[in-house]
């Protein structure tokens, strides 16, 4: 009996909590409609396309390839990123560079974003700091899979 009474009290408390949320949030929404600025808001929602959340500095977003001072990619086609990639989405074709200090450069560097799982292993593996995932670009959805294959031009640009 006492247990049942306890349940009953909790039921009443539950509905009071939801009513409080309803009334308080409605109050702040009405204040906003009336043009009165308040510190607190009626909702915690971030209205995505218009209003974006700040991306953390270590967030892994779209890849980019770093360049040297002369504009060529820093990549030396060592294939470490290709080897470490768990989704096997990176394809690199090496070519010979006339400069003996560099020796190799990527003739092709393709990332299939449709396969990429954004683990960041390629960034960790790169000895030349040639690939980074810090563009902050997260909305690159496409209608076809073909458009998700990024080549050298797109990755540098």
């Amino acid at each position: 009996m006492i247990k049942a009474l306890g349940y009953f009290i909790e039921i009443i408390r539950g509905i009071l909590i939801t009513t409080r949320h309803f009334v308080v949030n409605l109050f702040f929404h009405i204040l906003k409609v009336l043009g009165i600025k308040t510190k607190r808001k009626g909702a915690v929602t971030i209205q995505y396309p218009e209003q974006k959340k700040e991306i953390a500095s270590r967030h892994r977003s779209l890849h980019r390839l770093m360049t040297r001072a002369d504009g060529k990619p820093r990549c030396v086609a060592c294939m470490l990123c290709v080897t470490v990639c768990p989704s096997e989405c990176i394809y690199v074709e090496a070519a010979e560079d006339p400069d003996p200090e560099i020796q190799k450069y990527p003739a092709k560097f393709v990332i299939d974003l449709g396969r990429c799982c954004f683990c960041g292993f390629c960034v960790e593996a790169c000895p030349e700091d040639a690939i980074r995932m810090d563009t902050g670009n997260v909305d690159f959805a496409q209608y076809s899979q073909q458009d998700l294959i990024y080549d050298l031009d797109k990755l540098i640009g």
Binding site: I15, T18, H21, G42
Partner: protein
């Protein structure tokens, strides 16, 4: 001859008005449900639907939903019993939609020397009619569960039947005390009787005369709407429910039926326990306050007051039911049976006996 025609025309207009009121409110209850749940959970709710870039806090959302549902594929599974499968949502919808006929929206409206009753049909047995039609609505659910020929839907339909059996009894018994107090089944006379005063100042509303009956009726009526605290036939987390095999507008009819049941339950709560269209101390010629003041009003204003009071009360109960749906977790199958048979039915029997004793004294 012209007299008969005018009468028919008036009845026709009343039917159209009541149905438009009913369906528009149903449509916007979906909006209210989204917005209210959003406010409770500190969200914003659906606000993207727009016409020419104008989006007034998502008020166009119901129309977007309706368009989506109309253009969705109407899928009938090959293994279902096709005729019954198609019939079920219409049965369910029809029996709820027809109940609006007996609801009194207001008192008598006088235009010239003609008096119009603001109620489609003033039955002798209005209350019984509504209860009967609400119970018949379960046929649509049982048929849909059975005709879909799917184990989950069948389980849902059977659960619906079990729930109705255990709640219909408490629902009916909780109203017997009320019928003893207001000796009538005619809804208009029940409302008229609630205009009288108790101890000279308190309106004679059902809530003051039958508080226990009100609580039992509220619980039973919540179970009647088949929504979350008592959503056995649907059981979103275990069986998907009786409408698993439905899509498009047929599924939409089931959903609309749910919302229409909320409205009907709200109108019943208003009519039976909260004085229907009665405003406290408002008689047919104006306010007569118990402390002696008087405020005489023209007839049209009084009718407007009454209809507005009815609407406000109904809106409040719709709001309350949605609040309850978004507050409580669902009951288990056996818990609902327990609550129905072991608590509500004995309690309503005690209520009847208590009412009888008080009335004889």
């Amino acid at each position: 001859m012209t007299e008969t025609l005018t009468e028919m025309l008036i009845i026709f207009i009343k039917i159209v008005c009541a149905l438009v009121w009913f369906l528009a409110l149903t449509l916007y209850l979906t909006w209210l449900e989204r917005k209210e749940s959003a406010l409770i959970q500190d969200r914003l709710g659906a606000n993207r639907a727009s016409i020419f870039g104008i989006r007034i806090i998502g008020l166009f959302q119901p129309f977007a939903d309706a368009i989506k549902m109309i253009f969705k594929e109407d899928f009938v599974p090959s293994f279902s019993r096709k005729f019954l499968h198609t019939m079920a949502p219409f049965i369910s919808f029809f029996f709820v939609a027809i109940t609006i006929a007996a609801i009194p929206f207001g008192d008598i409206l006088r235009i010239g020397d003609r008096t119009i009753n603001l109620q489609i049909l003033d039955f002798n047995v209005g209350l019984l009619f509504i209860l009967a039609m609400l119970s018949l609505g379960i046929y649509g659910i049982i048929i849909s569960g059975w005709a879909s020929n799917n184990r989950y839907t069948l389980t849902g339909g059977l659960r619906g039947a079990a729930q109705v059996i255990s709640y219909e009894v408490a629902l009916g018994l909780s109203l017997i005390g009320l019928i003893m107090v207001y000796p009538s089944l005619r809804l208009s006379s029940i409302v008229l009787y609630q205009g009288e005063l108790l101890f000279g100042f308190l309106p004679k509303w059902g809530i003051f005369l039958q508080p226990v009956g009100f609580v039992i009726f509220l619980f039973a009526a919540l179970a009647e709407t088949k929504r979350v605290p008592f959503d056995l036939p649907e059981g979103e987390s275990e069986i998907i429910g009786f409408f698993t095999e439905y899509s498009g507008l047929k599924w939409g009819l089931f959903m609309m039926t749910d919302f229409m049941e909320i409205i009907i339950v709200s109108t019943l709560l208003t009519t039976l326990f909260f004085g229907g269209w009665q405003v406290p101390w408002l008689a047919s010629d104006g306010f007569h306050f118990p402390w002696g003041g008087e405020l005489l009003l023209p007839h049209v204003v009084v009718v407007l007051f009454q209809v507005a009071a009815f609407n406000i009360k109904v809106f409040f109960f719709c709001w309350l039911q949605i609040l309850i749906r978004w507050t409580y977790p669902r009951f288990r199958y056996d818990q609902v049976m327990d609550l129905g048979w072991k608590l509500l039915v004995p309690l309503s029997l005690v209520n009847i006996i208590g009412t009888g004793i008080i009335m004889t004294i």
